[in-house]
Symmetry: C2
Amino acid sequence: MSAGKNRQIVLAARPSGAPKNSDFALKETPIPSPGAGQILLRTIHLSLDPYMRGRMNDGPSYAKPVQIGDVMTGAVVAEVMESDNPDFPTGTIVEGRTGWQEYSLSDGSDVRRIDPSLAPISTALGVLGMPGMTAYTGLLTIGQPKAGETVAVAAASGAVGGLVGQIAKIKGARAVGIAGSREKCDFVVNELGFDACVSHRDQDLAGSLKGACPSGIDVYFENVGGPVFGAVLPLMNEFSRMPVCGLIAHYNATSLPEGPDRLPILMRQILTKRILVRGFIVWDFAEQEQQFLTEMAGWVRDGSIKYKEDFVDGLENAVAAFQGLLEGRNFGKLIVRVGAEP
Amino acid sequence: MSAGKNRQIVLAARPSGAPKNSDFALKETPIPSPGAGQILLRTIHLSLDPYMRGRMNDGPSYAKPVQIGDVMTGAVVAEVMESDNPDFPTGTIVEGRTGWQEYSLSDGSDVRRIDPSLAPISTALGVLGMPGMTAYTGLLTIGQPKAGETVAVAAASGAVGGLVGQIAKIKGARAVGIAGSREKCDFVVNELGFDACVSHRDQDLAGSLKGACPSGIDVYFENVGGPVFGAVLPLMNEFSRMPVCGLIAHYNATSLPEGPDRLPILMRQILTKRILVRGFIVWDFAEQEQQFLTEMAGWVRDGSIKYKEDFVDGLENAVAAFQGLLEGRNFGKLIVRVGAEP
């Protein structure tokens, strides 16, 4: 086993703006051998997520940047191929943050076991993983939607947005999505059960969104920023809440947008409407993980939560898939099939 | 009594930018006579507060605008001169929102009795009134300062800011003020007991503030906006909190500031540092009024809270005093002595 090659995608250069192909490099190294207490992991599924763009920058954020030459960071589902750790015998399926590569080592402390009988193992990267927990914790802990309220979310056909609206519906709220095409909007309404969805490519996004939210917006789950935010802000109701977990529209920005400076508009809206705005990352709510897994798995089982996965085959296609993700070209949770399921 | 004149200041025109003299008019009407169940109030102290600028605009806010020709809104301390209401006998001192005028009528439902034995009656407009409760509720309920944290507040020699820092000190936090002059800063540090104070007229406000907050800022009580906000934002710590109760630097603005558009900077800071920003007005926390009065009166009595009042004599000088307030020319809680204390 350990005689073969381990293909890795490493950070070759820090991007300016949208990541270029030359910002990544495909590298081959020997498949490592597990030392004392270690396990050798074979990557099956690699999750691609917007936050990874931030890791490519060298600046202060909530997590350390990837260093030049290092394997790109990312969560995977993997199979234990060799084991010197009795907690993880060969054949065990785990989830961990071993990055954009085909093989890796672990001592078991940074991975968790996945039960393949519960749901397809890829869901550990989506509905039952970090994106699912992001939607669950941010919406319920910060957004706190009440029956009859209106919850709006962008990237509504994506890994997080699609779940935000469905959880809102479970709580009795009205769910309004914003997505990137008519096809995505149809999916959001017809398959995910949102009450309405508008395309952010509409000529008159502000007008469309207003029409879709006749009683205003009580919770806006912010994961995109950009023009969508400008359309949302005037619709925010008194005492509305805004969990902020992402700003994908700005991740590739190399300079600030031109003026006028809208910062005073935002602060004035926050003041006069007494809006709560709060940033979070999923690990701020780590103590909710068991509760999330139990409740979300139940919702998936009973059909009240649906999810869509967008698979790309082969590690060599991860870069193009990631570039597309930042432009909204994926449709559902983006996952690279790095290796076959056992 | 009711044969005399009642002088009133009414809104003559909606200001564009800073309120001009011609936006107000002094009007004389007969002193009204109380009807069944009513009381006649003689204004002693009139409170001038930044929020009044918002009431002069005709736009959506958390309270209705003053209509053209109507008496300017405002809280007063007044004496009951005639009474047809047994709950408010002649001579009773009350606080109520009867506005910029010398006399007014009330049925008693919109005023509260003041106990002159507790503290000077003017404090019902400041430390034991709306400004005090704004500082108390916003800081403690939203800001939640912990021992050892740093709390920053602007307008630190003003009615609200001075109390925010002193309450922060009571809770064991470090208090850093921002004020408009060296004299005010000296007062804030030497009299109010803040740990540091910087002048927002400093050439290098960002640098001065950074020097005064070596461990960053955990709570920023936002009541001014403008350049101070720009200096504060980079200093906000992870999981910091920002109660927003005012934006006085913008109240006279007639257009948005020039670019670049800093809204994405704010949102990015909120996200990466997981900042909580929440707008409020004091009446959102109306249920805390008794607790506030009890606790704050205790702090005033035992000397752990100090306050400064800035008196102006005569209703006819209210307009100039209010114009000065919006430019930061007051020093302490601004109060117009409309009539003599009994």
